[in-house]
Symmetry: C2
Subunit: 463 residues, 2 copies
């Protein structure tokens, strides 16, 4: 005999509206958060099935090697040089810019301004108008810095005379470069092209570059991530906030700075004293030297390039030369300067997202009171950002640990499988530039990487 149940209790998996309906009828219900992998997209589910199926062990092994390289490589600052010296093959009138390859006609406003400033600083034009014509007519050509193992922050564009940090990863035999940070204020990397901004590029080339080359030579090789590790323990994420590590570096180099000749010494001292962002590009070059090594591993699902030019957002997988590109997203969770808002904001820009691939930036949010300020002001929210990163990462850093989270290692190695499966995308802590008026930085926030390029990369891997 069949008896109808007299009492109903429900466990609902997935869409909460069913649970709400049961609850409305006065019955107990347990809601289990669940969503179908890849949002249920059939092509992506098929791709996930392939990379989680028989090939999983092979991919996991490749990923383990990628994570090992990212974790164990020791980026070492060995010198300061010029773009033309480290990339003699570049030749001609070429600017290296952030993000994926792009033509002038599609370059966003702040990056155009930065490019015009660089053209004037190089002496290829007498003013920014003439510079704009040289860029538009192809007299000055463009190349993505990333293609030359160089990473440049925000709206950076640099010419052959620009001074760059040289960072080696001896374990991998790789070498990477990043420009000396231009500092805050009226500067081209923030999308400014005023005479003061152009003068900053000349100062870096003529004064700061040679002086810092001498400092590095005198001080000897510097373990970049050893200093960064100390800075992370002092609240730096090393992307949005680099203050603690910058200060450590300045104290470390103080004897060599004091030994510089005058008046360069006084000029460099004022520049460093006012530049809490100084370590940013040192860390970026360090990170790039690691991704250059880790990126040699084939068959991995880990992202070893992530970069934006303010128009396009692009990634590459380890072992692959294929860029997967989509529109650069807006920066969310933003705090704006007075009078500024989302309508003034240019999209996410810069090569600095390389930091997020090496356990810094977003993965280190949970240790950074400064980043917490952009996430509602609580350390719990910052810790959640780190934990979200952990869900899409293949490992943990043994180098960078977060005191407020019980000294847990920062997540390391963004796995495109997990990104697509879980629909959780990397979050990048970053600055925001004005979209069109050339006034520079208008705020900072957290950019969420767009889904499309990760989906395309997954399909590439799935074959």
């Amino acid at each position: 005999m069949l008896t109808l149940p007299t009492d109903v209790a429900v466990v609902n998996v997935g869409l909460p509206m069913f649970a709400d309906s049961v609850r409305d009828q006065g019955r107990p219900v347990q809601q289990v958060d669940w969503s179908p992998p890849a949002g249920g997209d059939a092509d992506l589910v098929a791709a996930l099935t392939r990379v989680y199926g028989p090939r999983a062990a092979e991919i996991d092994a490749a990923n383990a090697e990628v994570v090992r390289r990212l974790d164990e490589g020791v980026p070492t600052l060995t010198g300061v040089s010029r773009v033309s010296d480290v990339l003699p093959g570049l030749g001609g009138r070429t600017l290296l810019h952030c993000g994926p390859s792009i033509g002038w006609e599609r370059v966003c406003d702040p990056l155009r301004r930065s490019m015009r400033a660089a053209v004037v600083a190089e002496g290829w034009a007498s003013d920014v108008d003439e510079a704009g014509r040289a860029l538009a007519d192809g007299t000055v050509t463009l190349a993505p810095a990333n293609a030359h193992d160089m990473v440049v922050p925000m709206a950076s564009a640099i010419g052959p005379s620009a001074p760059v940090w040289v960072v080696d990863c001896p374990q991998g035999g790789t070498r990477a470069y990043a420009p000396i940070n231009q500092g805050p204020g009226e500067v081209p990397w923030f999308g400014r092209e005023t005479p003061a901004a152009i003068e900053r590029l000349r100062f870096l080339r003529d004064v700061a570059g040679p002086a810092l080359a001498r400092v590095v030579d005198e001080a000897g090789p510097l373990d970049v991530f050893s200093l960064a590790k100390q800075g992370v323990a002092m609240g730096d994420d090393l992307h949005m906030r680099t203050q603690a590590t910058t200060n450590l570096l300045i104290r470390t180099w103080l004897p060599q700075i004091a030994a510089l000749p005058s008046p360069e010494r006084e000029h460099v001292a004022r520049f460093l004293s006012g530049n809490h962002l100084f370590f940013l590009t040192v860390a970026m070059a360090g990170a790039r030297s690691l991704t250059a090594w880790a990126g040699q591993v084939r068959g991995s699902s880990i992202v070893t390039t992530m970069s934006r030019n303010g128009t396009d957002f692009g990634i590459r997988l380890a072992g692959s030369d294929t860029w997967h590109i989509t529109d650069s997203p807006p920066v969310g969770d933003a705090l704006y300067n007075a009078g500024m808002g989302p309508d003034d904001a240019a999209p996410d820009i810069g090569d600095s997202a390389v930091l997020e691939l090496t356990g810094l930036g977003g993965p280190a949010a949970g240790g950074s009171p400064a980043v917490a300020g952009f996430l509602g002001g609580t350390m719990a929210a910052a810790a959640e950002a780190t934990e979200r990163f952990a869900r899409i990462s293949a490992g943990r850093s043994s180098r960078f640990t977060l005191p407020p989270m019980g000294f847990v290692g920062t997540p390391l190695g963004v796995d495109v499988r997990r990104v697509v499966e879980l629909g959780i995308r990397p979050q990048v802590t970053t600055g925001i530039l004005h979209a069109h008026d050339g006034s520079g930085q208008v705020g900072a926030g957290v950019a969420t990487a767009p889904a499309a390029c990760f989906e395309a990369a997954l399909k590439e891997l799935a074959g």
Copy 2:
């Protein structure tokens, strides 16, 4: 009719052995932690009854004013001078030392060595043996630095020629002093009297003092606790760990350091580069300028002097000139250098415990990964140390906040009533010196203040 209970459930208040006994008999029991106030000591309970009775409102009002002054005063570094210039009335051959007043015969070994080094550096003796005789026969006299609004760290003893920070609290019209920190290594404040240690005193007097005087003059007044606040957010407790704030100060002063004449510039740069403790005495002078102001409030139960000379541990209440003195305790929760242990350790020493009276040091433990290292290595244990301090404190700092504890303010204003009532004594994060062989620092740890001086201070207040 009387019926016996058939079922027993117990709430036990106090000694847990009763609860254990009930639990052993298989009955439910709820244990409430409680102990009698002041351990049940009749005299202390009587004293507590008086200060918590009709006089409570009056004392609370005085305490609120003390906390306000400690919280709102803005210690401002205004210059570098010499002891003989700031204390012209001192005269003769006098050394200022840490802790309560003491005669040579009772001075502990590391402080004796420091005194001998200072006597030689002053030119009052040609070597440390002759210096010892001059100290023993009274040719050189001793005075406690604290009696002259000066605070000196660890086993410091300084003569008239020593350079000192001058820190003003403009709100209170108070001024305090502390010597320029001698740095780590072979130095008298660690109880060393080698030629190198004596030379460090001469270097401070002849090179660093004049150079830093020039730096402060050129840089202008410095808000000491504004910098300390940033350092606390970067993991400094400002007592055991001063690295972040030291680095901030160096970056702040970099232009003025770079403008110093040679060769002083190079010497000072090397000294600062190797001295992560540099900010300690700046913070101490700042704290002392606040306790000097807060200490003018009468009828308060808050401690505004806490200081040790390695033999005696002494405190004073706000509004009172009476020292309450007992034996200096050993330093617990210690981590020792290789080969060193408790048998090698001198008792707690130095005036730096003034920091614990102003929301720094022990009260800031919960924000400091470095302090956590001495408390078992977890941030939870460090947070407990801060919370223990909160139970004996009258207020919270609105200035110093701890990110890992949800940005809570550090406890401020040690209330002798609570210390005695709860039996919780202030805990001071501090270094440890060798007890007798002159080898300097052997470790660091957390010293728990002795009970007797707080009990005596309570009785003074109770009248």
